[in-house]
């Protein structure tokens, strides 16, 4: 009888999200230096070269405006964020459902996937004015939710489908040796395999959802929408106001992206690339 000595075994990863962020703070230091340096350079160049405010305001005046208009901005931002979030949720979940159906019945996928890939390549945002017409002239949230959902749908669909079908043959062979049914194969092999693909689709979708909502608003909406606010302030030459709105749109987009990244980290803790 031999006794197997456990050699060169890595420890089970422990510690929560907090520790992960803590460890990463050091990793983020170079990026933080670039950010601060970039803003300082922007400020310095605008002052030194006497750049006109309508071309590019100073970061300090954008920040001041942001602070002074914070309640109005926050109100508009929240409205638009809800549109983006709604579109993201509807578009992504629909895409995942459709991908599951297409992966289960391959002939269907063969018939429809070329169109999904083609649709993924077209600038769907061009339909925004039409979408506004379809939904109460664009005065409600629904037209923007619609456009954001359509934008999110295709990348999530294509990524999820690729994930569901990129299962290793030996992983399936093992399941066949257990006489596993399709539901079991999806639950135990295909979906876990697809998760990293689904999350990369979702991360692309978060960015598209914000674009869809804000650009949709450019084509019509009410005063309480962030896109309308940016457009109106530009028209009346209040450029720092417009820039403050753009900054908020960026922050909201980043927040959504970070939220999905955290969900990804939580869902994929088993993966060597996440834990390492």
């Amino acid at each position: 009888m031999t006794s197997a000595a456990p050699v060169a075994v890595q420890p089970v990863p422990r510690g929560g999200l907090g520790r992960l962020v803590g460890r990463r703070l050091v990793d983020w230091l170079p990026a933080a230096v670039v950010l601060v340096g970039g803003i300082a350079a922007w400020q310095g160049l605008v002052v030194a070269l006497h750049v006109q405010q309508f071309l590019l305001p100073k970061p300090s005046s954008i920040a001041t405006t942001f602070w002074n208009n914070r309640s109005e901005l926050w109100h508009a931002g929240w409205f638009t964020f809800q549109e983006a979030l709604g579109g993201f949720a509807i578009g992504s979940s629909l895409a995942i459902l459709v991908a599951l159906v297409l992966a289960r019945w391959r002939p269907l996928s063969a018939a429809l996937l070329p169109y999904a890939i083609a649709a993924n390549a077209i600038p769907i945002i061009a339909f925004a004015p039409i979408a506004n017409q379809w939904f109460a002239g664009g005065l409600t949230k629904s037209s923007k939710i619609f456009i954001a959902a359509v934008l999110c749908f295709f990348p999530v669909l294509v990524n999820t489908l690729r994930g569901l079908t990129s299962v290793r043959p030996q992983d399936l062979e093992l399941m066949h040796s257990y006489a596993a049914g399709q539901v079991s194969i999806f639950r135990r092999v295909r979906i876990p395999t697809a998760l990293p693909f689904i999350f990369s689709g979702l991360k692309v979708a978060t960015v598209l959802a914000m674009i869809g909502a804000v650009v949709g608003e450019y084509f019509g909406g009410t005063q309480e929408q962030l896109g309308v606010l940016i457009l109106d302030r530009t028209r009346i030459f209040q450029f720092p106001d417009a820039w403050a709105g753009i900054a908020l749109a960026c922050l909201l987009g980043i927040a959504l992206y970070v939220a999905v990244s955290i969900a990804e980290w939580l869902a994929l803790r088993w993966s060597p690339s996440t834990s390492a």
Partner: protein
């Protein structure tokens, strides 16, 4: 009673004949190795027994029923060359996978997983992820998984082919110990002559293109086999016998001129 009966099995992939007219019968409690050069169809034959590939011709009976029925009844456990562990499951949950599919209760599963990990000497690694283990440990998890539901038959497809010699010899001992303890029947595919002789009660020698059985050599080494078995004169005799049987199967390769010469004269 024979656990596996293979009658007149052939397999063609397009116009390539992978297996031709295979007849083997494997009795309960036997340890049978299939050995042959690469391309002789030994892995294909194993997959046909497991109903993962359908034969073109012939008949397979496993546990007295058609191979398909045996697979649906989960009559066999299988160990591949690659451990095929799921990264999204812990070691314990990988071992529990077939039990989960057979709808064992949570308590029964936990108890069996503990027992199996003890058997392959991996107690304490329950919560590790497969990629945190060495290759040899991963293969032991795979063996524990294959044995977890007490299959009458264990199919092993070059399970130690990717491991270094030392790990391979240690795992050979473990497989023998498990075979003695569980009393199951094992069909073992390998391309190592020493491994086949050391482990088996019978070695089935195959030749390539088309895959055929050229000889069946009973291994009469005393049981239980120990590390010193490898040093017995009888061990070397049997190794020589298997080697000669293999060369007989590839007779053409031996008498044919070397490839370079062939090219020069052509």
């Amino acid at each position: 009673m024979s656990v596996v009966r293979i009658e007149g099995v052939s397999k063609r992939f397009g116009n390539v004949t992978a297996l031709e007219d295979i007849d083997v019968s494997i009795a309960e409690g036997e340890f049978v190795s299939l050995i042959g050069p690469s391309g002789c169809g030994k892995s294909t034959l194993l997959r046909i027994i497991g109903d993962l590939i359908q034969p073109t011709d012939g008949n397979i009976v496993v546990n007295g029923k058609p191979a398909r029925k045996a697979r649906i009844d989960r009559d066999y456990g299988i160990v591949f060359q690659d451990p095929v562990l799921y990264d999204w499951r812990t070691v314990a949950k990988n071992v529990a996978l077939p039990l989960e599919m057979a709808r064992w209760s949570r308590q029964k599963r936990a108890a069996r997983v503990r027992e199996m990990l003890e058997l392959v000497e991996l107690t304490g690694f329950e919560d590790h992820r497969p990629w945190q283990l060495s290759g040899g440990m991963q293969q032991r998890v795979s063996i524990a998984r294959a044995l977890s539901f007490d299959p009458a038959l264990l199919l092993m497809d070059e399970p130690f082919g990717a491991l270094d010699e030392m790990t391979r010899e240690r795992l050979n001992m473990e497989v023998l110990r498990i075979w003695e303890q569980s009393g199951s029947t094992i069909v073992f595919v390998t391309h190592s002559i020493a491994e086949a002789v050391f482990l088996s009660t019978r070695v089935v020698v195959m030749s390539a293109r088309p895959g055929r059985i050229t000889s069946v050599i009973p291994i009469d080494l005393p049981q239980p086999r120990t590390a010193s078995t490898r040093e017995e004169p009888r061990f070397f005799e049997l190794v020589t016998q298997v080697r000669e049987a293999l060369h007989l199967g590839s007779d053409l390769d031996r008498t044919a001129p070397a490839p370079e010469t062939q090219e020069a004269t052509a």
